[in-house]
């Protein structure tokens, strides 16, 4: 287990290294050094200021030196620069936005795992029943649904129509911090959670259903049944445990997708999380903010991925041996 952990963390560190190289290439090398300095210096910079920025970023030095400056001088010292418009440190901006994305992603992930696994098990256990059909059709429908379409549909029904009817259950946009008002926090998150969760849950329903159907026809499940175990025990203790392994490994892969889904959901519901901030930063060409968010979000995904893999190794001992 210790070896598995060490190898997994090493891979995570390597992924982060690659991420920083790619980010460096995209933002520092791709546009050409003259443009980088000009973009970095801001819109109203004088030529002297641009030259100063170029010196500061070591744009006249070889690439590896530039990268080293970016990696060692900035990232590892937690210095992500300041944004162009208010001169706020990027780390402060990220600290404000991160809890929002975390609330959104965690809540949605819990809903989608529970919903997806339960409906998948139900669908597999009652194979070809009316439940199976309903679940399968709904799963296909939501699986095909773009998240912004679902989000806007929910807003139209549960915000606009309800408000017209005089019911104010959910806000139309914005975010309330948990520490400010837990009730408002929850109300504001219900629709975004559902938006993000329903679409992913559909994929997990399909995955769990297929995996359960495979497992249910295994010999050991028949053995468990012939031992006289209750059907409930056979399904939840014996079958589900091994049926869940592909679900867990898929969840690891989907963490990156979760961040992407959060970008769109935040945009739909006007929640100033990491994704919304990144999109706004792009509209404003606010490079330090974009770079900071891409790196922090990637790091979050890498860490979460390691946690998922550890859980996976606990669930399926074979993983540790490979």
């Amino acid at each position: 287990m210790a070896r598995f952990l060490v190898r997994r963390v090493a891979l995570g560190v390597f992924v982060m290294f690659v991420v920083t190289v790619v980010v460096f290439l995209i933002f520092y090398v791709g546009p050409g050094s003259a443009d980088v300095a000009r973009a970095r210096a801001g819109r109203q910079a004088t030529p002297a200021q641009v030259a100063a920025v170029a010196r500061e970023l070591m744009l006249n030095r070889p690439l590896y030196a530039q990268y080293w400056h970016f990696f060692w001088g900035q990232l590892l010292h937690g210095n992500l620069g300041t944004d162009y418009y208010h001169g706020q440190p990027v780390t402060t901006i990220i600290k404000q936005a991160f809890p929002i994305t975390l609330s959104l992603a965690l809540g949605a992930a819990v809903i989608w795992l529970v919903l997806g696994v339960l409906s998948g098990v139900l669908s597999a256990v009652r194979n070809r029943s009316i439940w199976d059909r309903i679940v399968t059709v709904l799963a296909l429908f939501f699986y095909s649904m773009p998240s912004f379409v679902l989000g806007l549909l929910l807003l139209y029904i549960f915000y606009y129509q309800l408000t017209l009817a005089g019911v104010h259950l959910f806000p139309g946009a914005g975010y309330t911090y948990l520490t400010d008002n837990p009730v408002k926090w929850f109300q504001g998150l219900v629709l975004p959670w559902i938006t993000l969760a329903l679409i992913s849950a559909a994929a997990y329903t399909r995955l769990t259903r297929g995996s359960m159907l495979d497992v249910m026809s295994e010999d050991y499940v028949r053995t468990a049944r012939s031992k006289g175990l209750s059907e409930r025990r056979v399904i939840y203790r014996h079958a589900l445990r091994s049926a869940l392994t592909p679900v867990v490994s898929q969840f690891g892969i989907d963490l990156g997708v979760l961040v992407g889904g959060a970008v769109i959901t935040e945009k739909v519901f006007g929640m100033p999380g990491l994704g919304y901030t990144a999109v706004t930063a792009i509209e404003n060409q606010d490079l330090p903010v974009i770079i900071g968010i891409v790196i922090v979000a990637s790091a979050a995904v890498v860490v979460a991925n390691i946690l998922v893999d550890l859980f996976y190794a606990v669930l399926d001992p074979r993983v540790r041996l490979h």
Partner: protein, 324 residues
């Protein structure tokens, strides 16, 4: 044993890797000499849901091809703004009516015509970007699975990395330093989307590599390229086709998402994602502006997913379960 392309093409459904010996029962029923492709076609043809989905896809394709006909018939150009008839006195979009069947958007343009033109972008990106993903993924997956050792380790690591970074954020970054365009969108989707394909192909190749017929080909002096592309590739075409058909709706959604975020195909090009993004500001006053592009997008992705599911069931009759 040299396989002509015709022979090889008839193998897939039987040689479906990972099947073991089970297809024997299926093969016994094939005795009349109908090729597995033919059988798959027959199965697909009798699957009502898939055929309806296919009909819908054909309609969408026709709508894309004949988009200018919509413009001619209605007399409304795709970029044409009807400031007097297409906007209310308050400057808001007008309701669906005899003149504007789907209503107008915030600039007084005909939504029907723009939805028809929007199908072009969705289909072009959906198909071309998917082909790009499948091409890159297949070549790298083949190389990783066939050569093994260092090549496999390197490619497998790259796959891991690409799969574990937040795609959308990187796509946003890439687009932000260049000017958004149709080509950029396709390239970005292709560059980040191939890894899943490569993973599937690699797995398939690993199980095929040890088969006797590969050894036979090698002992007859066939080179690596020949074995990879002539002996192995045709045998994994079926799963690749299934995967590609299910990738198209995913790609269409990604394209629409990029456009929704304002980093896809730039305006004034008619695009479903861009239209939905514009409609978001006005959905309380103009439901039709939101409804029609959303419906077009949803119908398209549902149809492609149903057809892809049907295609999988037809090519792999064993599986009575959903694709995982």
């Amino acid at each position: 044993m040299t396989l002509t392309p015709g022979d090889v093409a008839s193998v897939p459904a039987e040689e479906e890797p990972g099947v073991g010996d089970e297809p024997e029962g299926e093969a016994a029923r094939v005795i009349e000499g109908r090729s597995p492709w033919r059988l798959a076609y027959e199965r697909l043809r009798h699957d009502r849901a898939s055929m309806i989905a296919l009909a819908i896809i054909v309609v969408i394709i026709l709508m894309a091809i004949f988009a200018p006909v919509f413009a001619t018939l209605t007399g409304h150009g795709v970029y044409q703004q009807f400031r007097t008839t297409g906007l209310s006195p308050a400057g808001l979009p007008v309701h669906p009516s005899g003149q504007f069947l789907f209503g107008t958007d915030d600039q007084g343009r005909d939504i029907l015509v723009r939805v028809a033109y929007g199908a072009r972008i969705s289909l072009i990106v959906g198909v071309v970007a998917t082909l790009l993903e499948v091409a890159i993924g297949t070549v790298l997956g083949l190389a990783a699975g066939y050569f093994g050792k260092v090549v496999d380790t390197v490619i497998a690591r790259i796959i891991d990395i690409v799969l574990s970074i937040p795609f959308l954020l990187f796509a946003i970054s890439l687009v932000s330093i260049s000017h958004p365009s149709l080509t950029i969108v396709i390239v970005v989707i292709g560059v980040f989307g191939w890894a899943a394909v490569a993973r599937v192909v690699r797995g398939q190749v690993l199980s095929l590599r040890e088969k006797e017929y590969i050894e036979a080909a090698r002992s007859l002096g066939a080179g690596s390229w020949r074995i990879m592309f002539v002996d192995i590739l045709p045998n994994i075409v079926a799963p690749i086709i299934v995967y590609a058909s299910l990738l198209i709706p995913v790609t269409i959604v990604i394209e629409a998402s990029l456009s929704y975020l304002g980093i896809g195909v730039p305006p004034p090009t008619a695009d479903w994602g861009t239209m939905i993004s514009g409609a978001q500001q006005l959905y309380q006053q103009a439901w039709w502006y939101l409804f029609f592009p959303s419906a077009a997008l949803l119908v398209t992705t549902v149809a492609f997913n149903i057809f892809g599911d049907g295609l999988r069931d037809a090519l792999d009759p064993r599986s009575n379960q959903l694709f995982t």
